[in-house]
Structure formats: C-alpha cells, structure tokens
C-alpha cells in the first residue's frame, strides 16, 4: 500500500494471488487466472490495487510471486503459512486488519486441492456476496459494481452487485500483461505472520498425478442382433421431424420463428 495515493483513490481492490504451476514443465509460475485477476484490477479506473498472498516463502514460490510484482507493483503482502495449511482463517484476518471493497481472485488454484472453494468460503466468512467467472469490471459507482460475467458459448451477462464483494475471473478476462524483470526484482514481499490452521483432511487423502481418464466406449445395449446392426449402421436421423410442404413462405417463417422462440435463442 502506498499512503500517498490513498488520498485520491476511492476504491480499494485486493487481488488474491497464488503460486501457479506450469502445466507442462511443472515449474512454479504466476497462476494464469490470478494474473488475469491482476490485469482486471489494473483496468478499473481510480482504484488502488493491493496484492495478497498466503503461503510459504520458499525460493521457488518467491520467484513466482515476483512475477506479479513485475506487473507494476511495489509490494505484495505475504501472510506466512506453512505447507499444507488451510489459509482461510489467515486471509479473513488479513481482511479484518485492512479492509478492501472488492476482492478479485482466480477461479481455481493450480496447486493443491484446487477446488475453487476459497472465494466462497471467504465470502461466507466475511458475509459478502460472491460472483464467479467475470470477463470484465465495467465500472464502480456509489459502492455498486457493474460486472460482466462470462457464460459458456461466448455469451456475456451484465450483473450489478453491492460492494464489498468477492469476484473470480474467467479465462475470458483480458490476458495479463508481461511481467517486467526490473520491477519484479525491486519490489518487496512484505511478510506478516498469520494464524495457522492445519488442513487435517487434506493430509489424510491420497494423491497421485492425474491418470488419463478412460475414453467412454459407445456401448449399444440392444436386445437383438437386428437392433445392434441398426445401431451400428444407422445414419444420423432425427426421425419424426415436422415437414411443412406446400405452405406459403409466411407460414413457414411463422413456424421457424415459433421454434426459435421456444428454444430461447432469439432475443
């Protein structure tokens, strides 16, 4: 946090950042979604952005955290936690200590359980609303944020939520900027101690590198040879569709319109 910008900054945004893992090399890196979250926060005008990480300070994760600093930050708050700890309590304490109005995070972590539950747990703990899968923050006015949520199939939906709130970003959010080496070296990791809760359940579970999932076979459950043959040789046929012959173009158009409406694709 920089005290001198506190005066004119009206909105405080905290971005939750984590240490990611490169999908191929397995090296620690800035997590893709978290980097998008940082980029999203940078795009909100008149906001003061703070980075928060809860975790260890090993050499490898430090390099990854510095990648976030290289996106144009002087400092990152690091709540120190041992390996395998449940960071929820520590994060909630950090927010009690220095409140934020908008908290942005990725949807799922790239390491550990990666269940994507943390934003929801934190929201429940703080009593804030949570919105998932954002593509953009369109604006913040009078403590109300207008958000653009990414839906499947490239669709978007506009939502309004009263702050304070927690939001997560989708892969459709703007791509993160490159991390600049100089600022990344110069920035500070401000370590603070947080309370530690051990995640006992996680320790008791067995984990292994993901196995390839078996491909589903097309099993034809048929009572007779004829059905099996038909299933194997059949052409794709809708079967029993409605055919309008000798109708005027208007009647045909009417029928098509009715179907498009019933399916809800026409707006």
């Amino acid at each position: 946090m920089q005290p001198e910008t506190d005066i004119d900054a009206s909105l405080e945004i905290t971005v939750l950042v984590s240490v990611g893992r490169h999908p191929i090399t397995g090296r620690a890196r800035r997590a893709d979604q978290d980097a998008r979250a940082v980029e999203l926060a940078r795009g909100v005008s008149g906001a003061e952005v703070r980075l928060l990480h809860a975790g260890g300070q090993a050499a490898e994760s430090e390099a990854a955290l510095r990648d976030y600093l290289g996106m144009g930050f002087d400092a990152l708050t690091l709540v120190e936690q041992p390996e395998g700890a449940d960071v929820l309590g520590a994060l909630a304490e950090a927010f009690d200590a220095s409140p934020a109005q908008l908290v942005i995070g990725g949807e799922r972590a790239e390491q550990g359980e990666g269940s994507g539950l943390l934003p929801y747990l934190l929201a429940e703990r703080l009593g804030w609303p949570v919105v998932s899968g954002l593509a953009a923050v369109e604006g913040v006015e009078d403590g109300v944020a207008t958000l653009l949520q990414a839906l499947p199939r490239g669709q978007r939906r506009r939502l309004r939520v009263r702050l304070p709130a927690i939001v997560t970003v989708d892969g459709a959010a703007p791509a993160p900027r490159q991390s600049a080496y100089g600022p990344a070296r110069r920035g500070h990791l401000n370590a603070v101690v947080g309370s530690v809760t051990r995640d006992e359940e996680w320790v008791s579970w067995a984990t292994q590198p993901a196995r390839k999932r078996p491909k589903r076979l097309k099993v034809v459950k048929a009572a007779s040879a004829r059905d099996r043959f038909k299933a194997a040789a059949a052409k794709a046929e809708g079967g029993g569709g409605q055919v309008l012959t000798e109708v005027s173009a208007e009647e045909g158009a009417e029928a098509i319109l009715a179907l498009l409406k019933a399916e809800g694709v026409l707006r």
Binding site: A123, T146, R158, A206, A223, A225, V247, A249, G252, V265
Partner: protein
Amino acid sequence: MSETRRRDPRKEWIARNRLHPRHLEALTELGRRAGQGAVSAWLGPHGLMRKNPRAVGFMGPNGVKRIDRSGVQQGAGGGGATKSIAQSKPLVEIASPAFLVAVVPDMPGGRLSQHDRDLLGLARRLADAAPDARGAVLAVVFGGYARQGEGELKEHGFGEAGVDRLLTLDDTRYDGVAPEARRGALLAVDDAWAPRHWLLPDSKLGGADLGRRLAVRLGERPATGVWQVMAAPDAPLGWQCTARGAAATLDIQRPLPRITLALEECAEPADDERHAAQALSLPQALPSPISRIEDLGQVAVDPAGVALAEAEFILSAGNGVTDWEGFHVAAETLGATEGASRVAVDDGFMSRDRQVGATGTWVTARVYVAVGISGAIQHLQGIQSCDKVVAINMDPGCDMIKRADLAVIGDSAEVLGALMARVKQQREEKRDAA
C-alpha cells in the same frame, strides 16, 4: 377364446396345401385361433408345430420381403406397429425410499444435457447400491424456461434418465443468474427431505457455482471435479471417490462427502429402467431472499466473434442460397453465427473457417438452421450433436429434411425474407408496447 381347443382337420389340410384357393383364408383363421397375430406357425394334426416359412415376414418399403427376427414383429403383419422402446422398459416405482439422492441438473435450454444424464446415472448407482434398501433420486429443476408454450416441461425423459422424484421450481426469481435465490431453494429442500447425497455438475453452466455456494452454507467440504466413484464399506457414506485437483493435474482419492460436484462421464447414464419421476412440491413456501446480485440481463455479443464450434445458434448456408446479401442480413437480425456447407465455401461465398462438417468444424449448436443444404453425410457428421435442426429447402426428399426437427419446403430467399419481416414486425410491436 374358449378354453378347449377344437381342431378343424379340413382347415388344417387347406392350410397345408398352398395351392388350395382358400389357403390364405384358412391360414389366417387358424392363426387367429391359436391366439397369435401370426399365421406362420400352427399346431399340426399330430400335435406337432407346423410352420409356413412363406408367411413369415412383411413387405418392405421397396417391395422386397423382409424378415424381422427380433421378436418385435411377428408373422405377416403389415409392420410398423412396434411398441416404443421407452414403454418396453420396466417401470420402477420406489414408494418408500430408504434415503434420497438429490441431483440439481443444469438443464441448458430446458433439457437434460449429457452431463446431467451422467450425473443422474451416478445418482442411480448411489441409490441402487443396496437392493433391499433402495434410495430414490430427486431432481431439482429450476426455471420457467424449462417449459414450453402450455406449461408442459420441455424434457420428457426424466423417468428414463432415472429420476424418481421431480421438484420443479419455476418462479421468475430463479431466472437468469440468481445463485442466491437458487441456493435458498436448495437449502429448503435440504431442510425438508435431508438427502443423503447432493450431486451437482461441476460445469460452467451454473452447477459449479451453485454447488459451492450450497456446500459452504451447509458447512460441508464438497468433493469437486469428481470423475470416479467406487464402493468403500469403511468410508462414512460407503463410497470413495477420485477427484481432479490442481488444475486437472492431480488425482485425489478421498471418501465421498455429502456434496459432490462431478465431471462429465462420471458414470454411465442410466437407461435400462423407467422411473416414476413423480412430481413433488416443497412443504412450505420459500421466503423471498434479498438478493445482493442483480441481473441486468444478457448482453448482445457479436455473433461473428463467437467460435463456430461453441456457438449456440447457427444459421448455415448451402448451395441453395441465392440471395447472399439477404442471408447475411438474416444472420445479423437473428443474432446467429454464420456457418456454411462446403459448396458455399468452395464457391467463394463464405470464408473457409465457416465450413461445417467432416472437413470443417464440428458444431455443438442448440439450434442449427440449414438454408439450402442437401445434407450430405460429410455435412451431417458435423452437426451430429446439434439439438434442434431446422431445414429450409426446395427438395422434400433430401437427407437434411430427414435429419431436421422442422423442415420448411420452399425457396430459401422467400422464406428468409418472410422470417425477417416477421421478426422486424414483432420487434417493432414490442418497442411500441414498451
């Protein structure tokens, strides 16, 4: 039919004699008396079954005799009257279930998706594990959008997908993005029936979000990204699951918790029984929650910017399109993504990245409108997973018509023109009303 079987030796003789003028008549009569619709087999004079192989089968559509040995059709019937497969499945009713398995399907477009069916298959596995204490599968379905014009549900296949109890919650407060209202309803379900398992799809369509909200409020630690469930007698709920973690690079083995968010293909969809899908309603009305998230509605996106493979609504052009200007206008007015057949692309009317089919893009649209496309197999392959296909074509005999759910026979330019006129007229009416 009387109890005592009377034989008519003369009739039997006629029936054996193919050259007798009343041969067929006798055959029919004998067959009827034997209680079958078939005349191809009857009890002979010495108590032996006699068969007439020539009376077997029926005339196929091309005038060729066809024999159906599946047991569905018998004898010289005219064919056709086959019992629908759905009805031939045994109906299972679970009157007093030992426990409930609650499933909240996504229902994109008001129908069960493949993911939903897999999830219901998993629910059936959990429910049917102990044959003497079967559980019931409860499906909780949201939204008025799941209904058609007269309020009938769009989806008819709940019973076949394995649903015993069906709770439909349609209130405008659940429409659009209303995770808090939906969670409120699920909490009420939990209060009312206390299901042993909650299953939700771990999907972007809403299940992932809703499931996490529910779990957090119920204070359970859900299993997310579950793709495999195995019986484990020493686990608290009797099941063990494998879940994907760490951005799908880790497999986590853990006991199955009460709330499960499962991936696609987590189980085989249930399909050998028909369940009752008996309608339920909540014992008390829900208090209307104060929603802190306000939905301002869907934003119009540029349909041309949506990738063809994931577009929801495609208007596709083939060789039968004559008015290209009109086609592009139609796609824009309807808000549809443009697609094309190979001929339209080869002729230079559309760009190569718009081609649908075996050598183009395999599309997954919910609604696919094929304008002047004949339906060559290479094209039909590309639209296999489309839900509703509409065809506009001049030729009533072409393959696209056979595939289509709605086909309009007519000139493409005229039909599209009329469609545009209707859409514009309706939009103006709406604007005037507003």
